[in-house]
């Protein structure tokens, strides 16, 4: 009885240790990339512990073929999950390729550029391919890195680009660029020309005086018609004053009445003043 108990216990222990040690793996793994013409084929072998060191190059018409045998505890068996996960290193996106497995564990899968999503084809780095093998029960599953794939794009076809879909988030800052303030030329230039213009006034006076300009009839005119001449000349000078006030502070509706009044004054006084001038002309003094 005791012998039987210990024998059964021994069996249980053996079974227990056997269960703890079961794990999934693969063997006879070979990956090959063949062009459409299928005349040249590069086959590389790898194992669970030693993945391929250099990346495989996959062109636009090439097809990558992976063959392996999935094994549970060394014996070929079909697992429920056997995927080749190809991931893009920049964003971490992964595309799964389930392996076609027979009951004895022989598995194969074909990968070509047509089957890869555009996000992976547009990658700048080599894609990483990992094998994930697992199934129900207590056998430990397997997730190992197998090989790298370098996508060779066809130089004739357009470059694959991927537009990221809209996601709500912060948008780039915009600062309005203002038009520059209007600028003036250097002050020196302005001063030179302003002085040149201002210098014409003394030049004018000098030319007048050189040609005999004088004010000698002023006493005669003032004696003949003092009010008219004063008003007439005053209204001309005051009109310039009104124009100056319009430039500096007044608006149109303040300036127009003043200009109208002064215009009337100039007209009425001018009749008399210019009449006096006419009389001097007719008497031969001019």
């Amino acid at each position: 009885m005791r012998f039987l108990n210990s024998f059964i216990l021994g069996l249980f222990l053996a079974a227990g240790t056997a269960q703890a040690a079961t794990s999934w793996g693969f063997g006879d793994a070979a990956v090959s990339v063949s062009a459409k013409k299928a005349d040249s084929k590069v086959t590389e072998k790898f194992t669970e512990q030693s993945p391929l060191t250099s990346p495989l190059s996959l062109g636009s018409t090439d097809s990558l073929k992976l063959v392996l045998t999935t094994k549970e505890n060394g014996k070929g068996k079909r697992p429920h999950q056997a995927f080749l996960l190809i991931s893009e290193p920049n964003t971490g996106l992964e595309a799964p390729f389930p392996l076609d497995i027979k009951e004895d564990g022989k598995a194969k899968v074909d990968v070509s550029q047509k089957g890869l999503p555009v996000q992976l084809l547009a990658s700048s780095k080599a894609l990483k391919a990992s094998l994930v093998v697992g199934s129900f029960g207590s056998a430990a599953p397997l997730d190992v890195f197998a090989f790298e794939i370098q996508i060779k794009s066809d130089p004739n076809s357009p470059i694959q680009t991927y537009e990221k879909p809209l996601r709500y988030g912060k948008m780039p800052e915009i600062h309005h660029i203002f038009r520059g303030d209007p600028t003036s030329p250097p002050i020196v230039v302005s001063l030179v020309f302003a002085l040149a213009v201002a210098a014409t006034l003394p030049g004018l006076f000098i030319a007048w005086i050189a040609n005999g300009a004088n004010l000698s009839h002023l006493p005669k005119a003032m004696a003949a018609a003092p009010v008219s001449h004063a008003l007439f000349f005053g209204s001309i000078a005051a009109m310039e004053g009104v124009f100056f006030l319009y430039y500096s502070t007044w608006n149109l509706f303040q300036m127009l009445p003043a200009a109208g009044v002064l215009g009337g004054v100039a007209f009425l006084s001018g009749l008399k003043a210019l009449g006096e001038l006419q009389s001097r002309r007719l008497s031969g003094q001019r």
């Binding site: 079909r78 429920h80 999950q81 056997a82 995927f83 996960l85 971490g92 992964e94 799964p96 390729f97 389930p98 076609d100 497995i101 994930v132 697992g134 199934s135 129900f136 029960g137 207590s138 599953p141 997730d143 879909p165 809209l166 709500y168 988030g169 912060k170 948008m171 800052e173 915009i174 600062h175 309005h176 203002f178 038009r179 003036s184 030329p185 302005s190 020309f193 302003a194 002085l195 213009v197 201002a198 006034l201 004018l204 007048w208 040609n211 005999g212 004088n214 004010l215 000698s216 009839h217 002023l218 005119a221 000349f233 001309i236 310039e240 100056f244 003043a273 001038l277 003094q285 001019r286």
Partner: protein, 468 residues
């Protein structure tokens, strides 16, 4: 005796405060379930938590006659919780159109699925409207051979043990993770696959090595890529859609994770030796709290803009500005957290932005928090209006995952400079030659008048001419 009364009063006041806590969108919750009595038992902890947050719960069977989502054009309920039902349909009162009308009327919906029940076709149609896809045959199970609960699912691996999700993105506040290092159990759930719209956001994604399969038809394995529904991060275990009217629709792939058996269960993840209590209860509180608008709700209290110039008027919100005015814009926002409005803080890497735009934005500037009170935060920015005249809008368009949408638009006119607001010509150095020309002309004309009226003929020239 007196201390007893005060302690009793305090206790009652505390209870009253607890019951008063409620959602910002109303407290009428409708729970749809096939077997109301059995489901009340199964989900008693979860439903008790929901009720303690101030919801009035009505239980109805899906094919019940008295079930009406709308009364006289208004919603009869504010939120709907759909528990898994057997059978192909869910009755004439829960047609896809009725559920979508409810959703369009700002009603929130929390839908739970289970891999043991086939989802009704009307619910699959509703989900398709939202671009949420279920596996073909309307059912499936998510398994992960790498991270499952060895206590209950040692063989079938259909109870996933996941860490809490963490923030969805660096600039999005994390509303769902109870705290760091918490574990969630996802037993016998259905995975969903989301479309690429901006309104869809997953709360919880499957781990990298998980996948979805149909136990009836794919028990041996998945034959080819066409039959594979999804793997790893392609699968969303808990998905959300927040519509543009801020109504919320959450799909929880595993109704069992809310049940009493799993809401505070102990699990042992593969590869570990310790049993861990899952944080499903707190996670469920947050997921249901988000769906029923108790968290993640924003409100704009007021908006104010004014002219920010020395000597300018201090009228609030004027209708018209001038080009290149300095303007200050302020907005007060609050966030609803469980039972009260609190100050809203923008995550560090995110920004609340003001757009000053006519047809396209001339300025897009970050709004800085200026003042924080107990129930709101005031954000403000000062800037110079563009040198373009026209009709402009102050636009705040803050749409983020898991927060209600904030869209505010204030229209102002921006007038050009008036004719008397330009700098005077004597200030402009380039005008000096012209001004001096005017002066010279004026003086010259007046002098000419004087000389012409009051001069005597020049004798020498006249004489010179006559003698010739």
């Amino acid at each position: 005796m007196r201390s007893l009364f005060t302690s009793l009063f305090l206790l009652l006041a505390g209870l009253a405060a607890l019951v008063h806590a409620t959602s910002s969108a109303g407290s009428r919750l409708l729970v749809i379930s096939d077997d109301v009595a059995a489901d009340k038992e199964t989900y008693s902890t979860f439903l008790g938590d929901v009720e303690s947050r101030g919801f009035d719960i009505t239980f109805e069977a899906p094919k019940s006659e008295s079930l009406k989502l709308f009364t006289l054009g208004e919603r009869s309920y504010d939120h709907i919780l759909l528990l898994p039902t057997k059978g192909k349909g869910i009755g004439p009162n829960l047609t896809p159109q009725a559920l979508l009308d409810f959703y369009n009327a700002e009603g929130n919906i929390l839908l739970t699925l289970s891999s043991t029940n086939t989802a009704p076709t009307s619910l699959v149609s509703v989900l398709l409207e939202l671009d949420i896809h279920l596996p073909s045959d309307r059912t499936g199970t998510v398994v992960d051979h790498f991270s499952y609960d060895t206590l209950s699912a040692a063989d079938l691996h259909d109870v996933l043990v996941l860490p809490a999700p963490g923030p969805y993105r660096e600039d999005v506040k994390d509303l769902f993770s109870p705290s760091e290092d918490t574990t969630l159990a996802f037993p016998r759930g259905v995975a969903q696959s989301l479309g690429s719209g901006a309104l869809l956001t997953p709360i919880l994604r499957a781990p990298r090595t998980a996948y979805s399969y149909n136990p009836k038809e794919q028990s041996e394995g998945i034959e080819s890529g066409d039959e594979l529904f999804g793997v790893g991060k392609q699968l969303s275990l808990i998905s959300t859609m927040q519509a543009r009217n801020s109504a919320r629709f959450t799909v929880v792939g595993s109704a069992e994770m809310l049940s009493d058996a799993w809401i505070e269960a102990e699990v042992q993840k593969t590869g570990t030796k310790d049993k861990v209590t899952v944080a499903n209860r707190e996670f469920a509180r947050r997921v249901s709290g988000w769906t029923f608008k108790e968290i993640g709700v924003l409100k704009v209290n007021w908006i104010e803009h004014h002219l920010n110039e020395i000597g300018g008027s201090n009228e609030s919100n004027p209708k018209i500005y001038k080009v290149k005015n300095d303007v200050t814009y302020s907005i007060s926002m609050s966030e609803y957290v469980w039972d009260s409005w609190t100050a809203f803080t923008v995550p560090d890497t995110d920004a609340l932005q003001l757009e000053f735009s006519m047809l396209s934005p001339f300025h897009r500037l970050p709004l800085h928090p200026v003042l924080s009170t107990s129930d709101s935060t005031i954000f403000s920015v000062s800037f110079k209006l563009p040198d373009q005249h026209g009709i402009f809008n102050f636009k705040v368009n803050y749409k983020r995952p898991f927060l209600t949408n904030v869209e505010e638009k204030n229209t102002v006119s921006v007038r050009h400079m008036a004719h008397d607001e330009w700098p005077r010509s004597y200030v402009i150095s380039g005008a000096w030659p012209w001004i001096s020309g005017v002066g010279v002309t004026v003086v010259g004309f007046v002098s000419f008048c004087a000389v012409w009226m009051y001069s005597a003929p020049a004798q020498s020239v006249a004489k010179g001419k006559k003698t010739q």
